[in-house]
Structures are given as C-alpha cells and as structure tokens.
C-alpha cells in the first residue's frame, strides 16, 4: 500500500486555490491532517476519494493514477465525507444494505456484518427506525458504519468525531487503531486531541499548503524548548498577547496563568513540556 500525492493543486475559481502544490507520501498507518477552517483538508480528502480531480499533479495508489483509473481506488476505499446526508426514510439496515449494493459487496455474511457493525457502533436499538429521526451523532455513526462495510484498504475520515460525545470519541479512537494494522487511514480534524494519541504521522496544513509533516515527536520538536508558563495580571493580558503567542489561559486567584510560546521568556516563566497542541498553534499562527 502506497499512496503518493505529488504536487497536487486544486483550483476552484480563477486565482482561488483550495490546495496548492501539495505533496505527501503515505505507506500504511494513520495520518492525521490538522489545519484550521478552510485549510484545504476536505479539498485534499475529496480528491483522494475520487470525488474531485486535481487541477494539477498526480495522486497515485500503488503506482496507479487514480484520476485515470478511479475504480481501482474505489474498490478499496472507505470514505466518510464531512458533510453527508442520508435517505431519511430508510432505516439503518436498509441504508447500509443500499450502500453495500453501491459498493459492490454482498454474500451471505453481509446481513450479520451489518448487524455487528450497528451493534459495535451502539446503534442497534435504533436500527429499525428511519434515519431521519436520528440525532446528529447517531447519523455520524451511520456514516462510520458505512465506511467499514467492506474491508477498505484506504480509509478516509473527514472530521469523523464531529457530533460524537466523549464516550463515543474514545470508542472511535480504539476503533481506528484496530483498523490501522494493514491499511492506510487518513483522518482530518482541527481538534488536536482527536489526533494526538493515535496518529502515526501528522501533517499540518494551512491556506492550501503543507506546513510540515512527520511523526508526532518530530512535530513537537519544533517547539520543544519554547513553551513556558507564567502568571500575569488580568489587565496585562491584551498587551501580553500582542508580544507572545498565547496557547491557553486559566484563572488563578486574581491573576491569570498563561501558557505561551516564545524564544525569549519573561523572567518569572517556567518551561513546560511541549505538546502537539502547542506545536500546532505555533505552526499555524507563525506561518
């Protein structure tokens, strides 16, 4: 399994790019895509999922150009779009059967696989009700079930944890790590905690370009000796923010405790262990 993305650009209108000269190579494992709103995450994922074609550049899976041979990709693909709908009058079983028929899978095991997926995603009690009556998180889980219907080798989740409650998030994460054994999983998010414990590789992007890409330690290293914590007066916060990149603030009695990133810390600062969140903020703010 080798997914290569070479110099890919996507032009939406004249002079507006969703993605610009983007290159990355993925060989099995989990890739986490991080980036603020409008960074181009969905644009990239939709192109990998053969929804759109790149304006420039080549996306290839095992040396097959998927713009030319989209069905090669589609055969092994599981895709959860960011913004998807359902047929509201079908129940969960029917919808998944429909999806299975579309994906071209069947066989005697299909029914029991659907049953177990619904069971595992905690949807079994609602499975006979029309999907139109589902809550947002339940709908999201139907989308996840749909991804796992076949045995996909390339799995793309665009903001999978949107709308999931904390318990379901935990469950989703363990699901993903179980998946990653022999396939490629790409998931996007702008929430660092969704990615930091599970991704083997992290790519940070902004404004349609790749800022950096590597394993988590590599990315955290970019800020490793630059994260500090200090206490300041409430009124000083505005001027402090102007001079430093503040990651977080918390109340501490009358004062504020701030965590910030800097090369030259103020005198009473204490150095902290850097996290992926620090690195992400540093990279997206400073570039």
């Amino acid at each position: 399994m080798k997914l290569e993305i070479q110099n890919v650009s996507k032009k939406y209108q004249r002079n507006t790019y969703g993605l610009k000269d983007f290159s990355i190579t993925i060989e099995k494992g989990i890739l986490g895509l991080l980036g603020p709103n409008g960074a181009g995450k969905s644009t990239l994922l939709k192109m990998i999922a053969t929804v759109n074609k790149p304006t420039q550049g080549i996306i290839s899976l095992n040396k097959n150009n998927i713009a030319k041979d989209a069905n090669y990709m589609r055969k092994q693909l599981g895709f959860l779009p960011q913004d998807f709908g359902v047929y509201p009058n079908l129940n969960a079983y029917e919808f998944l059967e429909y999806m299975a028929a579309m994906k071209g899978i069947g066989g005697s095991n299909l029914k029991s696989r659907i049953h177990q997926l619904l069971n595992g995603l905690n949807l079994i009690d609602a499975a006979k009700k029309p999907i139109g009556t589902y809550s947002g998180g339940m709908k999201q889980r139907i989308g996840i079930a749909q991804v796992l219907l076949n045995d996909p080798k390339i799995i793309i989740f665009d903001e999978p944890t949107v709308g999931l409650d904390p318990e379901e998030r935990v469950r989703f994460r363990s699901l993903i790590s179980d998946l990653a054994n022999d396939c490629i999983v790409i998931l996007s998010s702008h929430i660092v905690s969704d990615i930091d414990t599970i991704a083997d590789q992290v790519a940070v992007m902004k404004n349609g370009t790749l800022i950096t890409n590597g394993n988590q330690d590599y990315i955290i290293n970019t800020v490793s000796s630059k994260v500090y914590e200090t206490t300041i007066k409430k009124d000083d916060l505005v001027s402090f923010k102007l001079k430093n990149l503040v990651v977080s603030t918390s109340r501490k009695n009358e004062n504020l405790q701030v965590r910030y990133i800097t090369e030259s810390p103020t005198s009473n600062s204490v150095q902290q262990i850097a996290t992926l969140e620090d690195a992400y903020l540093y990279l997206t703010k400073n570039n």
Partner: protein, 513 residues
C-alpha cells in the same frame, strides 16, 4: 419593513440564481414565441370562428397577455410550489423558526417571492411579444399602451393569485405534494371552464380574459351580422386551419368595476394568507414527529467492534443486487396511500375498454409517478448522498444503469395489466411502443435532472405532455396510444436512443468534472 424586503429579495435571488431558472426562462421564451402564430403557421391560439385579429399592437398585446395569464397560471403553479418545503429540506426552516419573523410576514414573503419569480417570466414574455410585433411587422403603428394595459390588468392579478394559491396549498396540505399538484389541476380546470356570459360575472374570472374575449366576439358578430354564438377557441389548435379572415381589434376599455375586481382578487389573496396564518405551524410539525420518534439511547457497557473477527463480506460487483435495492427504494418512495391509487389505476387498465385504458388511463397513471421518477438523478444531490454515490465502484455502468432500469421496470409494472391485454391480442407493436414510452419518460427525467440539477422543469414538461396526450394530440404521443404506422415507432425508437445516449454522455461529462 426593510428587513421584510430583504427577505423577499434574498429568497428571490436564491431561487433565480440557478441554472434551472435560466433554462425555465429560455423555455418561457420559446413558448411565448408561439403565442401569436407566425403568419403562415398551421395552428391558431386565439380564434373566433374563422376570424383572427390583424397583427396590430392591440392584438399582440392582448393575445399574449391572455395566453400568459392562462398558461403561466397553470405551469407557474408547478414552478413555484414547494417553496416552504425547500426551506425545510435545506434545513433553513429551523433557523427561520427560531428567528423573530412573524408567521404572517414569512408567508407573505413567500407569496411575494413567488410573485416576483412569475413576474420575471412575465417580463420576458412581455418583451418577447413586443419583439414579435416588430418581427411580423404588418404595417401597423406600435402603441405601447396596448401592451401595458392588458398585462397589468389581466396577467398580473392572475399570477399574483396563483402565487397565493401555491402558499395556501402548502400551508393546508403541507408535505402532501402530490395531493397539492392534483388538487391544483382540478381547481385550475374549474376556474378555466367557469364560463360566464353575463357581464357581472366577468368579475369572477380570475384569469381576467373573458371580458376581452367577449369584446372580440361582439366585433366578429358585427362583421358576420349573425347572432349565433361564435365558436371560440383559446389554446393551441393544430391542423391546417383554413385561412382565417381578419378583423381589426383595437383593445378594450376596461370598465371601472372590472379594474376594481382585479384589485379585489389581489385583496382576496392577501385575505387568504391572513386567514391561514394561524394554521401555519412554523416547521413545528416536523419537530414534533422527530421528538416522538427520537430514540432514547439506553446506556450500556461500551462495546468494541473487533473488526478482525466480524464476518467478512464477499465482493459482488454484479448489477442485480443494486437493481433490487434501487427498485425497492423507488417502490417505497412517497406516501403509502398513493399505492392504493396505483392499484385502482392498474385495475382500471385491466377492465376499461382497451382504447380508453391505453389513451387516457395509462398516461395518467404514469404521470402519478412523477414524484418517483422526476428526481431520479437529483435525489442523491438533494439528500446529500452524492459523495457516497460518486465514490462507489463504477458509478456509471452500475449505478446509473440500475437506477434507470429500476425506474423503467416500475413504470412498466404499472402498465402490466395493459401489456397483458395487448399480448393476448398479439399486438406486439403496441407493447413495443409502451416499452419505448416508459424508457422515454425515464430518460427525459434523467436528462432534465442532469441538465438543470433540479426536478421542476421535468415535472412541468411531463405534466404538459400528459395533458396534451389526454386531450388527444397525436403529435406528442410518446407511448403509441393513437393510430400510428410502423415508421412512427421507428422514429420514437430513434428518439429514445438519442436521449439515452445524451444522458450517458452528460453524466459522464459531469462525473469527469
């Protein structure tokens, strides 16, 4: 007040800034072109016995205004209805429900934006009629007043009333779109046929054309010096009508009471809306339903899916399972009670005299499936499923074909009693044309769906096609109900093939993009 205007403006923009509206405008232009027949054309639109007017300003202005008033009332309803439903579908409904807008303002804004939409079409037709006047230049002087007057007093109140009716129906019958469509058709037929000879009753004529027609009739009577009622025809009368005599029509001086009556129609429409406001549930109904049905989740221990142990599925890229599912989806679509009507229709096909079953019952039963087939290619867009469909395996050869086949099968299933009767009498040519007709309708739905990314245009066209067919116009017979030679079947087959091919080319092109 300012925000009210903004709402109407934005609603209007949202609806007109679409490709399908552009196509609708073009279609209206094409239709308007036929309102005043080209001098050598072999059909007539408005004709009193053997007389038509000379091609002066008044004739152009009044004839096009009357034709617009009638046609746009019929077709316009189908173009504009479903406006509130769109808000629900776009999930804007809940946001609107949570804003401070009053029900009355909301409904009024819908009426006005409906009206604006129709008004745009009227505007296009109006300009077209002036262009036609100069195009067929018969040497008469151009008097703009003969164009403006009939449009203002005849056409505008009529389409305003239709804009109201569309909203009224939607509030009263909510999600029963098919019911709305059928009821409006009956209402329209009633209003058109409600003929009144008495001067006072002109006031009851929504379309406002009787008063003009009567004036024309009087004039013709004066020429022929006969007192019998003249056979009058409005609408498209085909065939080689023998050369008509002409008379000079110079417009109508509308009486004050007529003008007031036109304003009364507008006031009546507004009154309806005010009366209905308490019945408008402000998207609540849907909420309630959901609440009732929303599933309370039992807390339970966290189950994990062990992907490695759950049963493996086999790949099956054959088309049959997909076809089965698509057929099932189509079958289940819409309200269940419609199937009662369908079954009654199928019984009628089995027992009615063959000719009536074939020429009347069949196209009507097929038309009743309009909601099932009209969104055959746009359904995935409106439900936001298209990401799934376009990343599925071989979306063209598997998905599109199974969609189309399932729709054709469904349509043929409905025709099956007739098909059985025909095969008993060994009329295989008719069977072939019915199959071709079924294919034709499904392909048209696909074609217009792909082209306009909406279902409205097809629905309107299908309606017109059905309407003309049950009125016995053999020219538009797409299912072979009328006497035809073999050659006609060949032509039909060729047409179906051309439409089918262009569907696939269009779809392929769109997938590429």
């Amino acid at each position: 007040m300012k925000s009210f205007v903004t709402i109407i403006k934005l609603d209007y923009l949202q609806r007109t800034r679409s490709y399908s509206f552009l196509i609708t405008l073009c279609a209206s232009l094409a239709i308007a072109y036929t309102f005043v027949p080209e001098p050598n054309a072999n059909y007539s639109t408005i004709r009193i016995a053997d007389y038509v007017g000379v091609y002066n300003s008044a004739w152009f202005g009044y004839v096009t205004a009357i034709m617009t008033s009638i046609f746009l009332s019929l077709i316009g309803f189908y173009l504009i209805n479903g406006n509130i439903k769109t808000d629900i579908d776009n999930r804007v409904g809940h946001i609107i429900a949570a804003t401070r807008i009053r029900n009355l303002s909301y409904l009024l804004s819908k009426v006005l934006s409906n009206f604006m939409l129709l008004l745009s079409i009227v505007g296009v037709v109006f300009v077209m009629s002036i262009i036609l006047f100069f195009l067929y230049n018969a040497g008469y002087s151009f008097e703009i007043i003969h164009f403006i007057k009939p449009y203002i007093f005849i056409t505008l109140p009529a389409i305003f009333f239709i804009a109201v009716i569309a909203v009224v129906f939607e509030v009263l019958f909510e999600k029963y779109t098919t019911l709305q469509n059928i009821l409006f058709f009956f209402l329209f037929s009633f209003l058109v046929l409600f003929s009144s000879k008495n001067e006072n009753q002109f006031l009851f004529d929504v379309f406002g054309n009787k008063v003009v027609i009567q004036q024309m009739e009087e004039q013709v009577k004066n020429i022929t010096k006969s007192d019998e009622t003249k056979s009058l025809s409005i609408g498209y009368v085909l065939g080689n009508v023998k050369k008509a005599n002409t008379f000079e029509f110079n417009g109508v001086d509308f009486s004050t009471s007529f003008i007031i009556s036109r304003f009364i129609w507008i006031g009546l429409g507004l009154g309806f809306i005010i009366l209905l406001t308490p019945f408008f549930n402000r998207f609540n109904k849907e909420n309630n339903n959901t609440k009732k049905a929303t599933i309370a989740q039992k807390p339970q221990g966290v189950k994990e899916i062990m992907l490695s142990v759950i049963p493996k599925v086999t790949e099956n890229y054959r088309i049959l399972p997909l076809l089965k599912t698509e057929f099932f989806l189509l079958f289940r679509k819409g309200k269940k009670w419609l199937w009662i009507i369908n079954i009654i229709g199928m019984l009628l096909l089995a027992v009615l005299p063959l000719k009536i079953a074939y020429q009347m019952a069949l196209p009507i039963i097929w038309f009743l499936q309009v909601h099932r087939i009209s969104d055959i290619t746009t359904r995935e867009l409106t439900h936001n499923i298209h990401y799934f469909t376009c990343t599925s395996y071989r979306p063209m050869t598997r998905l599109l074909i199974s969609k189309l086949c399932s729709a054709i099968l469904l349509v043929l299933l409905l025709a099956s009693p007739l098909l059985i009767r025909l095969s008993v009498s060994l009329d295989f040519l008719s069977i072939l044309t019915i199959v071709l007709g079924a294919t034709f309708i499904v392909m048209m739905a696909t074609w217009f769906g792909l082209l306009t990314r909406g279902k409205k245009l097809f629905e309107v066209l299908f309606f017109m096609l059905t309407y003309t067919n049950i009125n016995g116009i053999a020219f538009v017979d797409y299912f072979g109900g009328y006497e035809h030679q073999k050659f006609y079947v060949v032509q039909l087959a060729l047409l179906v093939i051309v439409v089918t091919c262009s569907c696939f080319i269009l779809k392929k092109y769109q997938l590429e993009k």
